[in-house]
Amino acid sequence: MGRVIVGWAVILMMAAFAIVYIANTVLYLTPPNPVKVRLLPLVFAIQHPLFVQNWHLFAPDPIRSNFVLAVRCRTGDRITPWRDATKPMLARLHQDRNSPMSRLLRIQQNAIRLAFGWTSNEWLQLLCRREARHARCRGEDPETARQQEIGFVLLRRSGSLACDEVVGAGRATAVQLGVLVHQPPPWSKRHLPDEGGSTRSIVFPWMRYQPLIAREDRGRDADPKIRGVTGR
């Protein structure tokens, strides 16, 4: 008898957990809707941080631009020419799918998106459709500022690492980054090469050089995998 009670107690406990988890996750994953609005704090409290998830995966609007990071470095009074820090990494990725380039590329690609203050926040999209002049929609709110600041931390460190390659480790004093946003041709012009698309560029102000990777790791700069990060 005791055995049956223990067994049923566990079944009920697990079933309750499963129902709560599945119901909450379904609600968490739905687009903004009235039920979600009402229960939002609870839904997030259950889901965060252990069960955070995002399955947009190229939806609803797939990514359709290339972001190219360009770097130039200052040492004393000399400024190096611009160099492409993205294409060499892409080349290595395309050459070998089993390379760490896939993840290394994501750092700079995500950093650029963060620095631009882009977000896939659906609530924000709803808000901005109604109130385009809202501070959040113009990127003048603390949340966007925080996101951009993280983006610039990552960009500055990526740029500094690139300068270690260009002028030698620790020799640069300042870094400047530019981003080329390239949109490949649309479907109707699919036969055009990549250059057939549109390109615009954004140049960020000079940033102070910031050495990274612990000093004892300096010797590893010669490692081709690390060198690839910065695009030589």
């Binding site: 005791g2 055995r3 499963a18 599945i22 994953l29 687009p31 609007d61 089993n98 990777i213 612990a214």
Partner: protein, 426 residues
Amino acid sequence: MKSVAGWLFREHWLIGASITRIMLGAWAVYYYLLHYPVRSLLWGPAGIWPYDRFIEHLQLFSVWQLGPSPVLFEALFHLGIVIAVAYTLGLWPRVMGVLHWVMIWSLGERNPFIGDGGDNIMRIVLLFLILVNTGAYFSLKSPRPADATLSPTTSHQVAAVIHNFGVLLILAQLSMLYMSTGLYKAMGELWQNGTALYYILRVEEFSWPGVADSAFRSPYFVVLGTYGTVLFELLFFPLLFNRWTRYAMIVAGGVFHLGITLFMGLVTFAWSMFSIYPLLLTDREYEGLTAWLRRRLGLVVFYDGWCPLCTRSIRWLGRFDLLSLVRFVSFRDPGVVERYGLDERGAERRIQSVGWSGRLHEGITAMLDIAVRSIPLWPAVPVFIICRMIAGQRVYDAIASRRLILVPGGCVGHCPLGETSDAGGR
């Protein structure tokens, strides 16, 4: 009600859970080793995401928060590799399940800028796998200590209930993933007009230069791929409820993720998604599948039991038949010729084999049949094929015809063995 409880009190999906454990463990080993040369940059205290920032943005916990020392970093990183290997091998599966989740979670917390959907689903699945018995198959597990407070059946029942719910939660999670992304895609304009795949494949980060170019310019490929993706994702969950449509979804998922890997280069993403798929088959289905494969691949080999060289070679070959697919029978044994309808003169001349199709193979072809079924002999398969192409049965016959035949009752123990090498077989 009773039958539901009875069903829950027995562990299901044990084989699938073990395969999932191995696949996710191997994923982590691959991931650690792939990024080994760049580990300091990705996760180190002075890497791309500096230590103080990481602490400031910590969500829950991470083993790396213990300190910024590079020595500690190295120690924990290598510990993570050791845990991943132990988890893959199935050593102390319960303990390693927890530790492995802790290490993978920590990695994601340490650098949140390199993750993708594959990492995301893996973190959740690894957490649910803690509830699951992942060490029942293919593992070097340590024996489970008996629980003194509860009778063994009660603790076993409780463990079974938790295990089954763990698997069901993982399957529910996978279904919600596909449903969510499918619905979002259906809302997107480019997914609706069938060109989404074109735009994705034109982004260099997700392309396959040289190959994708001709694919993304083909309207048939692009529209089929775009709509096919949305349809697969939306239909995945509802079609799990029928056995045959579930099999179809497993195949469709395989094609879908393989396509993503090839065209978009997202290797680890497909790997972590595939790792969940073994749970889509029940233990009974795996057993049925192996039994069917055994029937299809089973082989009976007839050798000459009166020839010491043959007997020795057969014993030697038998050791390589790790999957026990081959049954070796001496045609000299009483009744064998009649039972299998063998031609005794043919059997005397060459080794013979009969597979599932019932067709008789002999000589070098029979040797090839054996080699194909014995994993350690796979390197020899091309040798046999080339040998057969060049010389047919001649090499085999040259060895077999010179063999020594000892009629039982003749010499025992000190008989001279044939001068030929072992390679001859019979």
